[in-house]
Symmetry: C2
Subunit: 472 residues, 2 copies
């Protein structure tokens, strides 16, 4: 790292100034060898950060022209998905093929998924036949399954192999992404065990791998969903998880760095759905304005159409409002309390479901718990409202002669609405999951909309019972 005092590696790592202007100057002078020298000194993720400051045409010139294809490929892998997507059409097919040849198979597959069908065909024809066949196989899996995430760059040996042989072969293996584990297979390439590189280094060189493996191995089927992989890797603290086909044959591995990205992406999706919109699938500043508005307008309009029912509900009680305008004053307070308590309950359950803490069959335990919570929370808010109305009345008498009846109407409606909101909010994620939908779509705004109409009905029904003969 140039120009940094060696005594402060922590400072250096966290507050590094990137040579963006130098890179741009070299690019303007077509000084590609110098540019390579500059970039080689940096980590791939830092090169990618420099590129993020350049225009699209500058970016594509860097990747297309620098003579060091390994470097170009490393930079490419550290670019964010969105930049990659925009760059690929700018690059020549020859350069893309060169990049694909250097990429690990899982990343190569991700790249190939984004090119047009014609170009894909053209590229596969220019690749060595066996590699093309391997990529074709990987392309056949759904991108969000183990098959779609895995790499075929793993290191597997037969169980009859000795530790000495294994270390020798490892020394000769060149391009394997993860050799933290050696996968042990039988003669039919069925996975029978896993040996860590550390076990290998520490073992007696003459023993066979079979003696090192335990009598169990955790693996995942090729069609399993990425969320399940994330759960397994988190639970077992693995660095990589072997992927097997239906007959138990080892076909690839999923590594922890890809899973961290999956966890982060899934969470972003959940949070955005929870905020009441479609998942953006791109960073905030990278997504186009119109596309972003479209993703937000859809749900907002749907919620709005649902919320229109409140106007319909209110019109049924127009007579009551005309006779006792004071009732209208508490409408926002009551419906928002239902919405807030519902949104709390929904958040809790959605997150607990995502973490696997709460399952579908737990719904009845949740109902009992939330029933209790709803009663307590409703009583708290109801009591506050009661006190508030009595205090205001004592000060400035805004509620007339029937203030006590009004206070009790508002307080008991609040109890009902909060209880209803809590139960609705906690049950909606269960209903969504049961219907095969994502529980995260049971968003705060969705719950609020559902609770608002019912809240109005509860309020005005309580009012017409309690205030009959007095105000109504």
């Amino acid at each position: 790292m140039p120009g940094m005092p060696p005594t402060q590696p922590n400072e250096a790592a966290t507050h590094r100034v990137l040579p963006v202007e130098t890179a741009r100057r070299l690019l303007r002078r077509d000084a590609y060898p110098n540019l390579v020298r500059l970039l080689r000194k940096l980590h791939g993720s830092e090169c990618a950060e420099i590129l993020a400051h350049l225009t699209l045409s500058e970016q594509s010139r860097v990747l297309e022209r620098i003579p060091d294809i390994e470097l170009a490929t490393t930079i490419f892998t550290y670019l964010d998905e969105d930049t990659r997507r925009r760059l690929i059409p700018q690059l020549s097919t020859a350069r893309l093929v060169a990049i694909v040849r250097v990429l690990p198979p899982d990343d190569a597959t991700d790249l190939l998924r984004t090119v047009s069908p014609e170009r894909l065909q053209e590229m596969l024809e220019q690749l060595p036949e066996t590699f093309a066949a391997e990529l074709n196989k990987l392309l056949s899996y759904h991108p969000r399954t183990a098959g779609g995430l895995m790499t075929t760059d793993y290191f597997a040996l037969e169980d009859t192999c000795t530790v000495h042989e294994a270390l020798e072969r490892l020394r000769r293996a060149s391009q394997v992404e993860t050799v933290f584990y050696v996968y042990v297979v039988d003669m039919e390439h069925r996975l029978v065990g896993v040996v860590s590189l550390r076990q290998l280094v520490m073992a007696d060189p003459e023993t066979t791998l079979r003696t090192l493996i335990g009598n169990e191995v955790v693996s995942i089927g090729v069609d399993e969903d990425q969320e399940r992989i994330a759960q397994l890797i988190t639970q077992y603290d693995f660095l990589a998880l072997p992927v097997v086909d239906r007959s138990g044959r080892l076909v690839g591995i999923v590594t922890v760095d890809d899973i961290i990205d999956v966890i982060s992406d899934e969470v972003t999706e959940d949070i955005q759905k929870f905020g009441g919109m479609e998942a953006l699938d791109a960073p905030y500043f990278h997504i186009g304005f119109l596309q972003m508005v479209k993703k937000r307008a859809g749900w907002l309009t749907a919620l709005f159409l649902g919320e229109m029912l409140t106007a319909t509900a209110m019109s049924y009680f127009e007579g009551e409002i005309a006779r006792a305008v004071v009732l209208a004053l508490f409408v926002p307070l009551i419906i928002s309390s239902g919405g807030n308590s519902g949104s709390q309950a929904a958040t809790l359950i959605i997150r607990a479901m995502a973490l696997g803490e709460v399952r579908l069959r737990d719904w009845w335990r949740v109902v009992r718990r939330e029933l209790g919570a709803g009663v307590v929370l409703g009583t708290i808010l109801g009591t506050i409202a009661l006190v508030r109305i009595l205090v205001w009345q004592a000060i400035s008498k805004p509620y007339g002669a029937h203030y006590l009846l009004i206070a009790f109407t508002v307080a008991s409606s609040l109890m009902g609405v909060v209880l209803f909101g809590t139960i609705t909010g906690s049950m909606l994620p269960f209903v969504f999951r049961r219907l095969g939908l994502d529980p995260a779509s049971a968003s705060a705004p969705f719950v609020a909309t559902l609770v608002d109409v019912t809240g109005l009905v509860i309020y005005f029904t309580v009012a017409s019972v309690l205030l009959k003969g007095a105000l109504l």
Copy 2:
């Protein structure tokens, strides 16, 4: 793995039936050696799952009585935080000391943080002096910093060491948690480089480590926040990150498995705050009922007190409502639209901030973008409302002679409220971060409450201007 056909390891791994009843039976008969044999066949996380089905006293008997202390310790590390916290007071100090001796230093520190000060003193006295000193040092760091998360179980060698020597020493090292990397230090134990175990296995045995290291190393300061570590590990795809003190000396490492837990915990906290409550800090079914209600009641009450301002705001317009009851019908629709659009905008910005996509200095870019989004979204909802009122009027004439004025009042109020909600929702996370608060607290309910009062004022102000002389 007993009783599973070896051809289906994928099925076996994902749908395993745990021998909970067998374990309970052995426990009832005090057959601890048999219990050890049963549990040894399973992964630590599976043993922990079995314990989750037992009562607290059964759990503590398993951990206290089984003769195999290594197994007891492994099971202990896989228990969730909450179970560990409840179990620790049940275990004897002798057993806890035995467990601490086997645990890696970072986990040992976590355990010691949860015992009483007196017991901590007692335990430290029973441990070997140098280990106790090491643990005391680790206890001095804040648990959410690099120092608090790191382990001192790393493998470091001086840069003059040869590859052959390094492999020999590695073979003799017994209890090191992560030997995926060998950390290379100078004579003063300052970190100068990192060599992966793979590089080591592949290198010429006679070269020194100095020739294998690059001219840079990424590390993190001992006081850095855990969120920063998560960002670095995600960005650089590291399996472990070295931690250095102010003078660049290597003091520990943070491993990727601990960071996955950090990422997950931080997200849960953000999501729960975003749902309008305090972070629970425990799984849904594990937290006590009263404690959960307390964490929910706090925010709910605060929001309720804020929302009471709507009743005050409405009372200012009581005269208008009395003269034109029709105005009251649209109150829920208008305020909820402001809340929904605000909650969308807040979600987007909060998540983008957590991912580092949007920074404090980007606020003006966000304002410009959200101004556009607010106008478009407001126009969409306003138009829908206009059409809806006109259609209803054509069908059943509920809005009287001034229906056109009412339609325009509602439509233009919606535009104003949605625009205001969008700007408020997107700016609130910036305000919170600027004030040093967590942006995630700018929750959907919080934004909605803020927008509700203003929404009412906008609506009734527009109404009094447009309807003056007609209805008002």
